[in-house]
Symmetry: C2
Subunit: 683 residues, 2 copies
Amino acid sequence: MSKLTDVPKRILIGRALRSDRLGETLLPKRIALPVFASDPLSSVAYAPGEVLLVLSIAGVSAYQYSPWIAAAVVVLMFTVVASYRQNVHAYPSGGGDYEVANTNLGPKAGLTVASALLVDYVLTVAVSISSGVENLGSAWHFVIEHKVFSAMIMILLLTVMNLRGVKESGKLFAIPTYVFVAGVFLMIAWGAWRGIVLDESMYAPTADLEIRPEHQGIAGFALVFLLLRAFSSGCAALTGVEAISNGVPAFRKPKSRNAASTLLLMGALAVTMFCGIIGLALATDVRMAEQPAQDLLRDGVPVGDSYVQDPVISQVAEAVFGHGSILFMILAAGTALVLFLAANTAYNGFPLLGSILAQDRYLPRQLHTRGDRLAFSNGIVLLAGAAMLLVWLYDADSTKLIQLYIVGVFVSFTLSQIGMVRHWNRHLAAERDPAARRRMIRSRAINAFGATFTGLVLVVVLATKFTHGAWVALLGMVIFYGTMTAIRKHYDRVSREIAAAEGPSDDSVRPSRVHSIVLVSKVHKPTLRALAFAKLTRSDTLEALSINVDPAETKALREEWERRGINVPLKILDSPYREITRPVIEYVKGLRTENPRDAVSVYIPEYVVGRWYEHVLHNQSALRLKGRLLFTPGVMVTSVPYQLESSELAKRRARKRADWNAPGAVRRGLVDTPRKAGDRTGK
Amino acid sequence: MSKLTDVPKRILIGRALRSDRLGETLLPKRIALPVFASDPLSSVAYAPGEVLLVLSIAGVSAYQYSPWIAAAVVVLMFTVVASYRQNVHAYPSGGGDYEVANTNLGPKAGLTVASALLVDYVLTVAVSISSGVENLGSAWHFVIEHKVFSAMIMILLLTVMNLRGVKESGKLFAIPTYVFVAGVFLMIAWGAWRGIVLDESMYAPTADLEIRPEHQGIAGFALVFLLLRAFSSGCAALTGVEAISNGVPAFRKPKSRNAASTLLLMGALAVTMFCGIIGLALATDVRMAEQPAQDLLRDGVPVGDSYVQDPVISQVAEAVFGHGSILFMILAAGTALVLFLAANTAYNGFPLLGSILAQDRYLPRQLHTRGDRLAFSNGIVLLAGAAMLLVWLYDADSTKLIQLYIVGVFVSFTLSQIGMVRHWNRHLAAERDPAARRRMIRSRAINAFGATFTGLVLVVVLATKFTHGAWVALLGMVIFYGTMTAIRKHYDRVSREIAAAEGPSDDSVRPSRVHSIVLVSKVHKPTLRALAFAKLTRSDTLEALSINVDPAETKALREEWERRGINVPLKILDSPYREITRPVIEYVKGLRTENPRDAVSVYIPEYVVGRWYEHVLHNQSALRLKGRLLFTPGVMVTSVPYQLESSELAKRRARKRADWNAPGAVRRGLVDTPRKAGDRTGK
């Protein structure tokens, strides 16, 4: 047995190898930022527009309030960032909102957050793709004319990419994200320069339009409500902020510090861009409306259904850089690209969260084991399907989709912040060192404030958006929640059912003797191998069993048996109905009823083939028989494989699959980097 | 072991039971006739019409030739019947055309016949259903207005019926068939009486129409060709004659004699009806055309697309019984019903032939074992799919479909007759008794004549119908032929590959020692059972193996192991990538490389569950692991099942499935009667 010890060693080498690479794989801040921030940063592409859209209900005069709303968003952003900086320090393991809520507020809260996140991932895909298509459309009109179609294509593209397991690198994210950020900042700077220093007046393509307000002279509570609604639309800018807190392990040391500062940097960038765009929108007289077709007037006449309302960012870009200018084009492309990347992040988050939930037995067990292509594929397909459904239902209209979006985000924000407060309380109870206590109290304060603020926003969002679509998101959450509790219940019931009684081992499951049966159809290598193996594992009785479906064949078998002098008794069962399964089952049952405390071990020679159609041609009866045998208690079924030449193909395929890269490896830090896995099998 | 002897006895009881029932189940002639003849008899519902259709190309004057064509069909019919009476005597086992051709002319001929028959089964469904719908439509117009739809529905109905496994009785066939036959004879008699004795003049609904001939004053070779074409259309009346020769075992003793006389009776009925209908058609001035829309004129004007051409049988019935008369209705319904039954026969023939072909390894092996619902279902679905495709392509137009039909029939006729000639030659070589020789020589003469005649017809059919659609049928045959040869090739290659070397047993497959490994995740009943079983089958080394995907769980496992003092060494493999499959595979490979001549036996505890969704929640990783393990040589995988409570459900389901009736039991005689199977599990 000592010879076997080097096997674990080999696996240890695998791990050693890993730690060598450590430095190389961990993300420096300059890469981590784009990798994690593509989602939150990209959301400034649509958030400002949403604010103006809502305000436009009260007419263009209401645009004057937009700076205040922007301000509110900024405050909220910094609150959230500050709060999550605490998470990052408290859970360097990369505990996402789910883990925080789960550990601090108990499973129900955890599951609520999980459901919210799952719904959000779906919406991230739907919203980002739709908005991406709209931005691309502002530069390339074909796309906007076939909006839903283009969106579907994009989703399919991402899906296939992720199913095939793209080997991502930080760069993949870095370039477009930086192009986008740089573009927006250049736009803001250039716009400010032209507007303020050169005092030129810039006009958005929609500057000459009027807005017909849906409600004239809106005021009092109605106005407040409208402003709140505009604010909660603006909150779309905060989606995806929590991403970094899941990815701490992917950062270079000191992980938490780096993650925290990246978080801060991201927040700063986001708000600057957000405000900048709103400012430019006001300066260039951008005009947007919820129903542009009838509420936007050119010379007093509604623009009509043919009118396409470009996203605010592209309108501003047009005003600043000039229509069709190269910079305009670059920014449009960059925006679209970064939005598609944002969608891609959901493709990684969804299965990852899935595997964590599976670990807690809220989802099928096998989703837990990583590097498991099948499990991931299921998650990815589910995600894509849901997103496509939404895109189709809401004809890829980002404005409509955003109504569904923000609820989930703030559910998880709020719960995770409350969780953090609990977390600090717990630690404070234990901690004695005054300095540490002071830090903790400070953190708790921040989280408490975050919890209250995000909680308020959640209420606002629910109040202002419920009828506008938020209920769909809530419904989705309820469905996820229900399914997951059901699954958990099932697993719990089973584990109770199979829990082993106390004592060294309960007697009920310990048979006294074992009869071995080898199923035989012809005398060929697979059969001989099965016989050899059966002999090898010594049992109390051993016999070969054959079903007589064809007298001629059976006769031939008997003679061959004699001729070769195989020293195993051959029993033939007649099968007047040319069946295989039932006679065997009945025979085995017979054995069992005669000596109930004995076990029966059935050896089935199995062909191992390589091509799918070969499966149709082999083993079918064997498999069906096996399926039925497993239902008869006290029976074990042994498949003795015989590898046909063609099986080599399948082997190679399997090896290829093994080197497959689970998507989002970069974002997930090292533990699961499948490239390593590839190397390991490499030796 | 002696205690086990009663198991075969129990199965023998099953057989005994069978022979008791023998008398009761075998078919008396009066039932056998409808059971087997619904297909050939029903074909007189469309065959006469086809003759007139073709003749009408040369104008109504050409109708004068129809009696001659009828005569030719009669001669042919009796030739075929006479020939098949020889088959019936020579192959009382119920050797169908395939078997005859296969044994006497070799596999290639056999396979050709098989392909032809398979195509024919598809066409039987398509043609009979379409014609049935047309006949139903003559009485109930809604049907004809939604022809394709109704036809599809009928096919689906039959498919579902057969998938669910209808328990047929002879009566099911007897009543409609006899109603149909009686109706037609009554019509002929009544028509003759009115026409000849009462000298009334009867007029078909189309009597007042003119036919615009496609070719004026056709003569010489063209005329001959036309007549030949009309004749080969008339041959449609012969389809399904061979059915009886497959069903000899289902007859009462003396089987062959009864079968032969039933065959003769069927032939007589068919030709009488065929001629009677043609005669009445002429007497009542039925007018039909291939393109009725433009070639049928009322007062010189084409009747146009709205015109629906009723089948000749219903036109005649209308003329004789009077439009809308009760008798007319009954006959129409009876005709439709018998046609649907004819289609149903294909649903039995197709899978039956399939199982014979599977026995000769031209089709997947599992199709051979009978009472195997899955196998049957596949065959049935394939048949239905193909038929629906044809019905859809040829918009349920029986005339168009019949063009495809007859080729296959005569391919099998001809080959099987040639085969019979060979058969007699072989026997004559052996036979010495002059009396017997005389009989054989007579039989050979009949078969020889049959072969020549059917051969000629085949040539005619090909010549006259190839461009009209026969090529489609031939294409279908080629496809079947190709697929089946490919499958056979594969099986042969494999059986060569796995052929056991000579000598008592070849050493390459006999390992020296066996290492047993029990896969363990937690300590629960399934695991304990697996351990118990593994211990029971004594192997050289035994160890428990667990994969460390989650340190906490692993630690718990180790402690539990200690606490319970399980006397099996527990080995833990680290899995840095949270995989299960690869570490195990590598460990096993490791064992193998160290002692290549040893075998490794892996025990996997498996949950046996009852509901489909539970499968999603259990065993997934186990199954995948097993799949991969089978590729590593020298490994056997043992599933130790643990039946969860829910598995009871599946057990019950399986039992229900077991009592399922394969369709067409009646027609197939006793060997496969699944009702018996049901009884047997009953005890």
